[in-house]
């Protein structure tokens, strides 16, 4: 038996997918690039002994927390809800192949949350070096979460050798994974960082 189809009377399923995916992808890229922006700006403040830049970094980290933790985090879960309603068969296939890829991304998400809370709430309450290390760890795990999800998203477009081997690794390291990671993972995340600095 196949999965039932959600009968949408006023719009196609793609409408809901576009709304939630565009919003989430736009904001979630800030969650990665913004982490680098925060630590680099903080370092700049220390290097130049500039209290205004430091105050800006602190206030920006609050905005960053509210934007990425709440909006990006929840819309990310929302994408999952959306695809499972619109294409349950495809979602089920994806989840069954990459369950531990998703689980690995979940670990990165957990570390991100803890790092961001500590970064914001411990600003100027712990040593500069410790605070910067927490900021770097936030960025590293945010980058890794994109790394893992990017491979799974690429697989949806071009499953490559997985079609024959059914191997997790063939699916994960699919043909466009490398070039797409190099582009998608870095350009949209980092250009705002370096253009602002």
């Amino acid at each position: 038996m196949n999965y039932p189809v959600w009968e949408l009377y006023f719009s196609g399923g793609g409408f809901w997918m576009v709304i939630i995916a565009v919003v989430h992808v736009y904001v979630s890229h800030f969650a990665v690039g913004g982490g680098l922006f925060l630590v680099l700006t903080e370092m700049k403040a220390y290097r130049e002994n500039d209290s205004e830049i430091l105050a800006y970094t602190k206030s920006h980290s609050k905005f960053f927390l509210l934007l990425t933790m709440v909006f990006a985090g929840i819309t990310g879960v929302g994408i999952w809800f959306t695809i499972s309603l619109l294409s349950p068969t495809a979602t089920s296939t994806l989840v069954h192949i990459f369950v531990f890829g998703f689980a690995t991304e979940w670990v990165c998400f957990l570390v991100e949350i803890i790092a961001l809370f500590l970064y914001y709430y411990k600003f100027e309450k712990i040593s500069r070096a410790s605070h910067l290390k927490i900021g770097w760890l936030y960025f590293i795990f945010a980058w890794l979460s994109l790394f893992f999800i990017n491979a799974i998203i690429d697989f949806m477009l071009t499953p490559g050798d997985w079609l024959e081997t059914k191997s997790f690794w063939d699916g994960f390291f699919n043909p466009p994974w490398c070039p797409r990671s190099a582009f998608v993972q870095h350009w949209p995340c980092f250009w705002p960082v370096f253009s602002d600095l």
């Binding site: 038996m1 196949n2 999965y3 039932p4 189809v5 959600w6 009968e7 949408l8 009377y9 809901w16 939630i20 509210l66 933790m69 709440v70 909006f71 985090g73 929840i74 819309t75 879960v77 929302g78 809800f81 959306t82 499972s84 309603l85 349950p88 979602t91 089920s92 989840v95 069954h96 990459f98 369950v99 531990f100 890829g101 998703f102 689980a103 690995t104 979940w106 670990v107 990165c108 998400f109 957990l110 570390v111 949350i113 803890i114 790092a115 809370f117 500590l118 411990k122 309450k125 712990i126 040593s127 500069r128 410790s130 290390k133 927490i134 760890l137 795990f141 059914k166 997790f168 690794w169």
Partner: protein, 357 residues
């Protein structure tokens, strides 16, 4: 129509189902600890504001600072069990989600509203005055709605015979209101949250009391009263739930299955033990007994789901295409992630005398 014919074909799993079940139970247990705290302290803060309980302002200020954390961790810890349940029971939960798609999809928006409202409550605590109660009400009502949707889905996935309603209403607007277990199950979770919230606050005040020469005894007692009251009510709600279970499911807790019956007895004993410690004002043993009881309840819930689905499906029926390399990747990530968390906590709390330079 034979309900069996409505169940989609399950996909192949990458490791033995025992691994997936272990991760499902472990992460759901953690999710439940955070969820109980989140919803419980929210309900307590709202009740204290509405009934203007003495000392409620300072207690609610404390809650306002902690609620956003608990929402973040509840969501994060909810992601993992939702992942593992889809792998083990995807053919059931995808279908039930789809039948209530409108409500299920709305959870994203409702959660964002609840989350931002909790932050508004926190950041405007002093500035908003009594109007802040509105923010907490928005958070609590929305979280209760999400819980109700989850209870609907978790019960609907267990009853494929209710899925035939889809043919009359394919627009994703079905709930499972005719299911006898729905309301007692939902109330059971809400009450356990109130108990958990009360216990969490008792722990918070006890930790503060140790640092500030025991000024918080009254608050510890007040928090424990929430725990005790909700747990006592739980006996009535739990009994109601038990009596609404189908005969073949209830029977497993009444001698029909040795592990399920043993868990049921352990759950009762753990609850009674937690209550005794609660009455005596012994916060830590009470917390220990409660956490163990929650673990037992999670295992009971799993036994119950297995019994519900037994006429249709057993996990041993799942086909496996071994991909243990992906499991190792996850275990390595878990280890590295755990080490990173421990390191960051050490940086943040480990060396308080370090100079801020």
């Amino acid at each position: 129509m034979d309900p069996l014919s409505l169940i989609p074909t399950p996909d192949v799993i990458p490791v033995h189902w025992g691994w997936l079940k272990f991760f499902l139970i472990a992460t759901f247990f953690l999710h439940l600890l955070f969820m109980n705290t989140m919803l419980g302290i929210g309900i307590i803060a709202l009740a204290q504001s509405l009934f203007k309980t003495p000392g409620s302002t300072s207690i609610n200020r404390e809650i306002s600072a902690k609620l956003p954390y608990t929402i973040a961790f509840t969501v994060n810890m909810g992601v993992a069990p939702l992942l593992f349940i889809q792998v083990l029971y995807g053919q059931f939960i995808y279908t039930s989600s789809l039948l209530m798609a409108v409500y299920w999809l709305s959870i994203t928006a409702i959660l964002i509203i609840a989350y931002y409202s909790a932050y508004l409550y926190h950041y405007t605590f002093d500035a908003a005055g009594s109007a802040r109660t509105i923010f907490m009400a928005i958070t609590v009502v929305n979280l209760l709605i999400i819980g109700f949707f989850f209870s609907n889905n978790m019960t609907m996935m267990l009853s494929p015979d209710s899925w035939v309603r889809y043919f009359d209403a394919p627009g994703g607007t079905l709930l499972n209101l005719a299911e006898p277990t729905l309301i007692p199950r939902y109330l059971h979770f809400v009450l356990s949250a109130v108990a958990g919230g009360g216990l969490f606050l008792a722990i918070v005040w006890e930790l503060k009391a140790r640092r500030h020469e025991n000024h918080y005894q009254e608050r510890i007692q007040q928090s424990l009263r929430w725990f005790i009251g909700a747990t006592l009510l739980q006996f009535a709600i739990g009994t109601w739930w038990l009596f609404t279970l189908p005969e073949h499911v209830a029977r497993i807790f009444m001698g029909g299955s040795t592990p399920a019956t043993a868990l049921f007895i352990l759950g009762m004993l753990g609850t009674i033990l937690a209550l005794i410690f609660g009455f005596k004002g012994r916060v830590r043993p009470c917390a220990g007994a409660t956490i163990l009881t929650i673990l037992v309840m999670v295992l009971m819930r799993d036994q119950m789901r297995t019994a519900f689905l037994k006429p249709y499906f057993e996990l041993a029926m799942l086909e496996t295409n071994p991909q243990y390399g992906s499991l190792i990747l996850f275990l390595i990530a878990l280890g590295i992630g755990g080490a990173a968390i421990a390191y960051m906590l050490k940086l943040a709390f480990g060396n308080k005398t370090e100079a801020r330079s």
